[in-house]
Symmetry: C2
Subunit: 456 residues, 2 copies
């Protein structure tokens, strides 16, 4: 019997655990789930054989080493900053490791040792990063294998609310970490390349330079640019590509309204507001508007941002109840971002029966035998319920499948890595299909950005 | 004979040195000017008795200590980051120190030692900071001494081009450090208080929330908010004041046009542009606009920022030649801010006969014996020529006057300090008047922001 150690039994672990539980007999595995809360560690495994939940505080060296020593592979579902100590234990005790997080410098630094010991340290194998890497590389490799040359690659992902639960004007609810949604796009200009020209979008313009995509059966979406698309040139082996652009998917109209918060300064997380706990929502809005004894907060906001009286953005604001003068922020020393998050969570928290949705969309432009082609490829995954969400499914399944394949020595190339190689992505994408996680491809006429090669 | 050591003979030292040279006989002083360039050290003193210029590299401990040891008072006109080593030498050898820079934590930390040794470490005694402190405190103390209660204090300063040299559409040329002008307002929201309400303006709105002031004989100006007005509550002893707001003065219309650069992201100093040295001005602008093969850079910019065809902002852009497709940035690894500075310096550098202008404007609102009053106070100083600029005069004269008064033991309170006490500001402001540096006061009806005490 082989032992799998899963560290962290949070929301995104449900489908990962369900998958592995279904394999305990056929694969002859024993699953140990460690969490800082024993209740959380045990909640997904009640009544199952070959499993146990244990108390595991990763900051406790003894507990951590004891757990790592006694398993054959470690899956860390902890927040990214906690992986490194676990990774060092894996080096020490010669264990393979799987995470869904971005590789940081500390993790990368373990590459040499992992290779020396023949260990697979597979990272970025959730949904984004994860399924985006695998599905993109599959098409890119296929084009390259035929002798094609990539001209354009665009890739978009979004965590949204499922159509059946989509009942607010923003067409949005929090399905991922709300704080990350409020802070999205901050920290520097979005950088990308279009037709060989570098392009930069500052934060204050980010939500006004969206593009529209359409998915059959699901309608239109909009995309705003992610911060750094350019690093994917080297990651994906697309050094000479003319257009490379990554973005985040929202329903059409979200960004234009979100831009109100950006323009007013409500997403700022760099300073705290005096007496924030007692501030009403309306007083919070008024912090960002000029003082005037005679004008209402509503009119000042309309005038400052030049919002027409019949603009739907306004209804979106009203829906969030931001002008309420009774509800208070209730958070001590809140930054504007934290106060805004509080207001949004009143309205954008998933209800008990609400379901989420993950949408991913790639565009590939390429040249083959003197002709230009375009492939669009998309994936839409709906959540089953509040536990088995689309997020949990798309993050957890690739992690689970990869872990089992590493355990079974179907994936063996050692080192700190992403799922970019055929050896890895082919079998995983194939098995994901049987769980309903697959991409729909369309061949389109290639237009690119510049069909006539006009300079611009 | 007493010895005065001046370290740093840059542009802002000319009037300081001229003042002290005029006093060598009557005050029996010898002036040593140290600079990293011997030529600079000597340029202002040719033919004068009781002076010498020496080579002084402040990073050279021996040179520095030798110079400090042999003088009676040190004036440091170096960039702020270089003061601290000089200040430590002053502690070591028991010398007084004068600078025109903001007190930072390192300087503040010397307060106890300076007091123990009975040394005056006078800082922030240029124009801004400097004359602003003194002129504000004089009126504030006068109001308080009468038993008045301050309700409102607003204070604005600007370095501009003199009306006779004002020949561009922006009504602006670089009279201070161009880099600071390009980066002005970055690093966090502007925070202030109006009628007891906290107000925040994010960088992207800073140049759209200006207010207008008028000065007899000079016309209208506009003001945008400085980053942190709130710290002046404790500095000026205005803890309970309802309105406190500091700002920077420009000619009307500057900010609205400057906002184009802010909105496009051209003032960003956080990343470098590939191949920036070969970029033309037009290509630089195009970095911040969506790719389009068929639309011109000009039309894309007009459309993106919704600039009407007859908006004067547009003429301002054209005047800067930002759409020129021949002129290149010529700076390797330029950030957007550095590239923009290059473009601006083509047009905004002072010509040989150009003169500068310093404008300062304070508003005081107060209550006395149940009545409300308002005092407006302003100062306009014009430069004499490119050497004896308004900037050099307003920075250098208070430094020089203070230094002599410390040397003559007219200012004696020891410690690291700003010129906030009557003992300091009264005699200095009085002498400044004889050099044409004075404020014009006006008594106005008090309106404040909220004449009828309506909530807003």
């Amino acid at each position: 019997m082989r032992n799998i150690l899963i560290i962290g039994a949070g929301r995104s672990a449900s489908c990962l655990i369900r998958y592995l539980l279904s394999k305990t007999k056929s694969e002859n595995i024993f699953i140990t789930i460690g969490d800082i809360s024993l209740e959380s560690a045990q909640r997904f495994i009640k009544g199952h054989a070959n499993t146990k939940g244990i108390l595991l505080n990763v900051s406790n060296k003894e507990q951590r080493e004891e757990a790592v020593k006694n398993c054959d592979i470690v899956i860390s579902m902890l927040p990214a900053r906690f992986h490194i100590e676990v990774a060092k234990d894996c080096i020490k005790f010669g264990k393979n490791l799987v995470t869904a997080s971005y590789i940081n410098d500390e993790m990368q630094a373990l590459d040499v040792e992992a290779k020396e010991k023949g260990l697979v340290f597979m990272n970025e194998i959730g949904v984004d990063p994860g399924i985006d890497h695998m599905s993109a590389m599959q098409v890119i490799d296929r084009i390259k294998d035929k002798g094609g040359k990539l001209l354009l690659f665009e890739s978009f992902t979004g965590g949204l609310v499922a159509p059946e639960s989509d009942d607010n004007l923003w067409n949005y609810k929090f399905t991922w970490n709300p704080r990350n949604v409020v802070l999205a796009g901050q920290g520097g200009a979005a950088e990308f390349i279009q037709e060989g020209k570098y392009k930069y979008i500052p934060y204050n313009r980010l939500f006004r330079r969206t593009e529209i995509i359409k998915i059959d059966g699901f309608g239109k979406f909009e995309v705003y640019a992610n911060r750094n698309s350019l690093k994917y040139r080297s990651v994906y082996g697309l050094e000479d590509i003319l257009t490379l652009y990554r973005g985040t998917i929202r329903r059409v109209g979200f960004s234009k309204a979100w831009n109100i918060f950006v323009q007013l300064g409500m997403t700022d997380d760099s300073y705290t507001i005096p007496d924030s706990e007692n501030l009403t929502y309306r007083e919070f809005v008024n912090l960002f508007l000029p003082y005037s004894p005679n004008d209402s907060v509503k009119l000042k906001l309309r005038h400052n941002l030049k919002i027409d009286q019949d603009d739907l953005m306004w209804e979106k604001l009203e829906e969030l109840d931001v002008f309420n003068n009774k509800k208070t922020i209730d958070i001590k020393d809140a930054t504007p971002a934290k106060a805004l998050q509080k207001i949004l969570m009143d309205k954008w928290t998933l209800k008990e029966d609400d379901k989420d949705m993950i949408v991913m969309y790639h565009k590939f432009g390429y040249e083959l035998d003197g002709e230009k082609y375009r492939i669009d490829s998309n994936m839409v995954i709906l959540g089953e319920d509040q536990v088995h969400t689309a997020m949990s499914k798309t993050v957890g399944l690739p992690v689970a499948i990869a872990s089992l394949k590493i355990l079974n020595k179907e994936i063996t190339t050692p080192g700190v890595q992403r799922p970019l190689n055929k050896e890895v992505y082919e079998p995983i994408l194939k098995e994901l299909e049987t769980y309903g996680v697959y991409f729909t491809e369309k061949k389109l006429k290639y237009l690119g950005y510049n069909p006539n090669n006009v300079g611009g």
